[in-house]
Symmetry: C2
Subunit: 124 residues, 2 copies
DNA sequence: CTCTCACATGAAATCTTCTTCATATGAAAT
DNA sequence: ATTTCATATGAAGAAGATTTCATGTGAGAG
């Protein structure tokens, strides 16, 4: 039986394989926020936040609700909590100090350091 | 506490966000195989399989062992089984017929149909 | 009804990843 | 020692994704 070779499964992972979207998920874990609040928390442009919220919505990783003039986004904790616990366990077992994972081939070093400072966090 | 905005977490998802690598994981769920067997099962070139096995190894999604002249790859079921169960549950809840997920903006339709036929499976 | 605020969308440029083809490596067989 | 088999690696072109800037939209306030 095929479980992971579906386009839905690819989209699931592809949507989370992005530092901006992971950061959005992370700050929504704390509390629901509107677009401007997310943008401010991430120090990113509003249009970038909107662009990245779209695939998160399509995958039901976040939900949204209109409140007056704003739109408030919240995270799907039922999915995200067990998912990140699974990853945390996996990392603690196979990537204890995070060193192996801290290089990426195509990515320019300068840009990566920038990403580390802003969106990523070094887990040492 | 930061749990998902690490590069390790990004790499986790990025590695699985690829049809070839998902297909490799899937056929290894059945039984361990060497590179040539994987290539044959997927109808892909050997070098492509090797290239894609590398990130899977780095993330400890697959393991390998030398056996004589071959190298036999096996999947990390401890991780993959709960991971795909989580996704299956999520999909059953939010993507019941798979329709919403079956389009992708940037992807050329022709290429997508090809991918559907070979690597992906339409879950209807 | 018009203005404005909050957000979404489009398109182009840039950046990243994937695939392919050619070649390298290394261990086992002869 | 040489050949051969199994797999890995490198580099370049193609394909795909992300970001940015400009603009569009629509609901609520005045």
């Amino acid at each position: 039986m095929k479980i992971c070779t579906t386009y839905a499964c690819h989209k699931f992972f592809a949507t989370l394989a992005n530092p901006t979207r992971l950061a959005i998920v992370e700050i929504l874990m704390d509390s629901p926020k509107n677009v401007a609040q997310i943008a401010q928390a991430l120090q990113q442009e509003q249009s970038m936040v909107s662009h990245n919220l779209k695939p998160l919505m399509e995958c039901a990783f976040v939900f949204s609700e209109k409140k007056g003039r704003e739109r408030v986004y919240s995270v799907n904790k039922e999915l995200m909590e067990p998912l990140f616990h699974l990853i945390a366990f996996h990392e603690s077992k196979y990537c204890p100090n995070g060193r192996i994972c801290l290089t990426r081939k195509g990515m320019k070093l300068e840009r990566m350091k920038e990403a580390q400072k802003t969106l990523y966090v070094n887990h040492e």
